[in-house]
Symmetry: none
Subunit: 408 residues, 2 copies
């Protein structure tokens, strides 16, 4: 089933926004059995929107559009779709009710928001449960166009819960059956070598992909067609025989969610002591709903003063070994356990860059200590030169290190 | 001058890669006076490449393509361009010399690299000084197509040093003049209503775009032509009259960067005390290189125990008013100033959701206290129901609240 994604909005054409939506959409569509054959970005321009849709429909069966359906003057997609399909806008009370439900808690309904309840007459309206702009689904001669918001979380929520399920049921597309594994304790090349024989003997049509994700090792095993699921299960058994406890999850979920599930089931509490990651690990852990059950708190000890005063890091260790060292990161982990009164601690100290590097400790040097009760592991890692990537990689690596300890 | 960007490569269509190139290219082109009217991603498919170019040239004057010109089998752009323009590949000694110059420092020349010196006969070849794939420039009937590598570093170097200067000298294009404003205290639709009269009376050719971002409102005002800069300045004066202190920045930069610049210039230090934002504010502040100059540390006080032990929040205030309250968030801000020994503090306590809400304090209730020395402001906000969005919105709102105090 050939599919095109059209993003509508001047802000993308002038480069003010980096489009992360369509990569996400393309991945979900591909997995669901839809071939994305083109992606197009155009402006908030009625003529261009109509011409592009007409042109693209000569090549594909499904068009998904994002953007241009907000309440302001430059949002013209909804009106333009009416022109394209020769219909008109009508007021829909059920959409108004949904909008009122969405906005009621944080703002009063103003005329512009109210008018988002006008929808094209001859289309299926999908209620947007997480935003005020309704989703519209046009089906003519078996060619489908779906118009949705460009706000990433609204788009993602509706793609997953509404649009992809409806597309699958309409086109009975042959989806991939697949499984994602998160593996600890291997580098990518070590894992590739360990799996060589198994990978070479996978049945016809099977694929194994190493999914790029900084600091996390993710594998995806896949094959097209529900009827091959039993073969997939057989290969999964073989993979478990090869990797055993190195597999910490068999779903593509964030590390912080895996960690949370481990902590919940074991009844352990956790706290963090962060220097170069600057609070990102605490942020990731607390991004999971219900994390207050196991996460008690964290210290972002950016300055040495905070390390000594709150985490009781030994000042002589800082002087002797520097703040990025085994002794300091060990003190930080133990200090966090004590100050926060928790069972497990993650401590990170490193040089995120771009400044602060030396010959001995270049940018990207990161020490990570993880502790569970009396057990403690401290390891040194060498990461890259990019500050943002180092923060992400160090955060994930630290959670991986604790997960490995929890699995032992 | 109408311009299109075409990215060629299967990896973008399956969503394996987030395309950051074209936003960068579009920004540079727009500033240089070229209107990017469409961006298209297609696969490594000769038929699709030729059809797309032919089609797009019916609408634009300039096409820039990236990708598909590497040395491997799936790189078919160069060969396909020869077919499109009815020409053939010939060996170019000057390209070989450039390749040898580029690779000599890091690897030996292999046959695949050597063959990159084959270039289309009837085109202008631009030597790629930072990579082995030459750039080709086709000019037919005043319509230009430039094919360049997709490797970000190579693309950027050649766009800046070769392609944009050549395009500017060929077409004397008129650049946009524009300004981005960051505005606090309005929802998108409330701001639109407030600005309606002014927006309706903007001079011919002016555009106003809303770039929504949770907790932050961004506006972009733009018009084409350097000669209209004085009109732009006049409209900016009117906008300031309408919004006054609600404008906290007139550049499109992250709040944490605006905040960092304020703190650096005033010589003030800062610390954070976070409950529902879980470390995200510390993470945002420390995402800025050089933030260790003003950020000393943060406490993520998720549990009441940590609030009392480290931030010295009054246990009776927690019992009396609850953890999400004016008194507790005030204690947290003062406690952070003391525990972290900082001039300014941001403290946040709220109910991010989905659990934890009550009738009196529903999900989305957030108290924020900001302090500078002895001055302290504590405010209550009602946000939405989505946990991730509440964390982002509360983080931005908290920085906005401190920025407003710093501006006074």
């Amino acid at each position: 089933m050939k599919t095109a994604i059209i993003t509508i909005g001047d802000e993308i054409l002038i480069g003010q926004i980096v489009d992360t939506n369509t990569a996400w959409m393309a991945q979900k569509l591909t997995n669901a059995g839809f071939d994305v054959t083109e992606k197009i970005s155009i402006g908030d321009n009625a003529r261009q929107i109509k011409d592009t849709i007409a042109d693209v429909f000569t090549r594909v069966d499904v068009i998904l559009t994002t953007g241009g359906i907000g309440p302001t003057k430059d949002d013209i997609t909804k009106k333009t779709l009416c022109e394209y399909y020769g219909t008109e806008l009508i007021f829909d009370d059920s959409v108004l009710a949904n909008i009122q439900n969405v906005v009621s808690t944080w703002t009063a309904l103003n005329p512009l928001t109210h008018d988002q309840a006008y929808v094209p007459k001859d289309c299926t309206v999908i209620q947007n449960k997480v935003g005020t702009a309704p989703i519209t689904w046009f089906d003519r001669n078996d060619k489908v166009l779906v118009s949705m918001p460009g706000v990433p979380y609204e788009m993602k929520f509706n793609m997953e819960n509404e649009i992809i399920p409806r597309l699958q049921s309409k086109y009975s597309a042959e989806a991939y059956v697949s499984k994602v594994f998160i593996v600890v304790g291997y580098t990518e090349s070590a894992l590739a070598i360990h799996l060589t024989d198994w990978e070479n003997n996978l049945p016809e049509g099977f694929g194994l992909a190493y999914l790029p994700s900084p600091g996390v090792m993710k594998l995806r095993l896949f094959v097209k067609g529900e009827e091959r699921r039993h073969e997939l299960e057989e290969e999964i058994v073989k993979l478990y025989n090869l990797l055993d406890k190195a597999i910490v999850a068999d779903r593509d979920i964030p590390l912080e969610k895996i960690l949370g599930e481990h902590l919940l089931s074991s009844g352990l509490t956790i706290g963090t002591a962060e220097s170069c990651t600057g609070g990102n690990i605490a942020h990731l852990i607390t991004s999971i709903a219900g994390s207050s059950e196991y996460f008690k708190g964290g210290i972002v000890s950016y300055s040495n003063e905070v390390k000594c005063n709150i985490l009781k890091v030994s000042a002589s260790n800082i002087e002797k070994d520097g703040a990025v060292s085994c002794s300091v990161v060990t003190d930080m982990a133990k200090g966090a356990q004590k100050a926060l009164n928790v069972d497990c601690a993650i401590a990170v100290s490193g040089i995120a860059g771009p400044g602060g590097g030396t010959d001995e400790k270049p940018v990207g040097t990161v020490w990570i200590a993880t502790a569970i009760g009396e057990r403690l592991v401290a390891k040194k890692y060498q990461m890259g030169k990019n500050r943002d990537m180092n923060i992400i990689r160090a955060s994930n690596t630290a959670m991986m290190q604790l997960l490995e300890m929890l699995n032992e």
